[in-house]
Symmetry: C2
Subunit: 272 residues, 2 copies
């Protein structure tokens, strides 16, 4: 706990709420579906591309596709006309990209995933921006992007279906997707969750008591976190509960997570 002590804190401004019912989650900011979508796309390395098969005609056809990202989050593919999915897109541009959590924690079915639906179109003329966007994420692509059978394609996003895990899901609009910012914390989140539980159990308990309304908490375990806060599983004499402790301000980059956790712990203890 000691290395959580020696830092400034933003104050814990709200008075403790009355104890919520077991299972109720106290209100706390979470990533929007648009943010969750941009975050999953940002950190995944490759997607499953779904296209409409030419043969057997009209069947949805899954294949693997590395992708780059343009400003605004539009995915860029670099695909060979010798590949089945390219023949499919030549016939019908409707497509989706499906990505899963790049840094999963626990049950894979309780981790985030996203289906980005839209229309894929081959980029004609100047492909410099697409090429750069693709190679920025896939430098190994230098070995094939300039082959004559390869071309860049862009997915114009028309809808996003996000599933956050058991029971958490939402659609997002193309505007919500385009305007949202990716969360920087996923690469460091699993390690941070492990560390918080292993070495800062007391701080997690303080946070549960201070922020979730469960003042009678007897222990608390971090189950996941994002730039806005930590999801806690809380043991109380009344049974198991869930709650959330906020980072204030939000985490701006992966390196900022440690300081945000220190602030949260100090605020939970009331030494603002």
């Amino acid at each position: 706990v000691s290395d959580l002590d020696d830092h400034e804190i933003a104050g814990a401004d709200a008075p403790p709420a009355p104890a919520p019912a077991i299972g109720e989650v106290a209100p706390s900011r979470r990533p929007t579906p648009g943010e969750a979508a941009r975050t999953l796309v940002q950190h995944a390395e490759r997607a499953t591309l779904s296209t409409l098969a030419q043969e057997p005609a009209g069947y949805p056809f899954g294949s693997v596709a590395p992708y780059g990202l343009l400003d605004g989050g539009s995915p860029v593919l670099c695909i060979s006309r010798l590949a089945e999915h390219t023949r499919n897109l030549d016939g019908d541009g409707r497509a989706s990209l499906f990505v899963t959590e790049a840094f999963p924690m626990g049950d894979p079915m309780d981790n985030g995933r996203l289906t980005l639906l839209g229309t894929a179109r081959r980029i004609e003329g100047n492909t410099a921006v697409a090429r750069e966007a693709f190679l920025a994420r896939h430098p190994e692509g230098r070995s094939y992007v300039d082959f004559g059978d390869f071309a860049f394609w862009q997915l114009d996003v028309e809808a996003g279906r996000w599933v956050g895990g058991f029971g958490r899901m939402a659609w997002c609009t193309p505007e919500e997707y385009r305007e949202a910012e990716a969360d920087p914390t996923p690469p460091v989140a699993p390690g941070a969750v492990t560390h918080l539980n292993a070495d800062h159990a007391e701080a997690m308990l303080d946070a549960a008591r201070a922020f979730t309304g469960h003042a009678d908490a007897v222990s608390a375990t971090a189950v996941r976190l994002d730039r806005y806060g930590i999801d806690l599983e809380i043991a109380t004499p009344r049974g198991l509960a869930f709650g959330r402790a906020p980072f204030d301000p939000r985490v701006e980059d992966a390196d900022g997570l440690r300081m945000a956790a220190v602030r949260l712990a100090r605020a939970a203890r009331g030494d603002a």
Copy 2:
């Protein structure tokens, strides 16, 4: 590279072939596309399910799906009517399951993957066989398979599109898929490849000289293996070459791989 699809067996007692051209692969039995398909499906844990969206109508929609396998390799899903893919299948049963190599080696794009196309139908009446098949691969499913919103669905396979890596791909028919047997070696293959290269470089060189026609090989590296043999990258004074050394007989289970490698090495040295 068309002879990559050659399935003839090169017996250890066949007369040595004349040195093939650089880049040419000597004939040696390989898994058929049907076997490769069954192998990928057998060892993957979950697939990307592609369905036809209800909204936006007709778009291919990717999602995640754990699956079980019936005799004959038909995948069984257990999906909730609250999930988007189930609504999609209720509207149009055409679907595909996409799986990737469970035990990849090297570049992900140079590893196997498979698209199984078919029609999904809800299993009505007695679901005991489907339930058992699903839980055999996903015991964690006990926590939800009997929920009222979940049901078992079966994919009736109509075609399989296999991609083995750069430049290796084929379709397989439903009959080829159904009748083929999964290769037991993938879980132990990456470790075996590493071990053969680290500790048995001389045996790999003997194998390259004896079985690939490159009698002037100066070194050889195992790049992948399956139950029928080892793919070798071979350095020769004429340049880099590729070849294959056969297991004879084929490997029957994961535990048999070591003995098969010993036999191969002895045959290569000529002390069979």
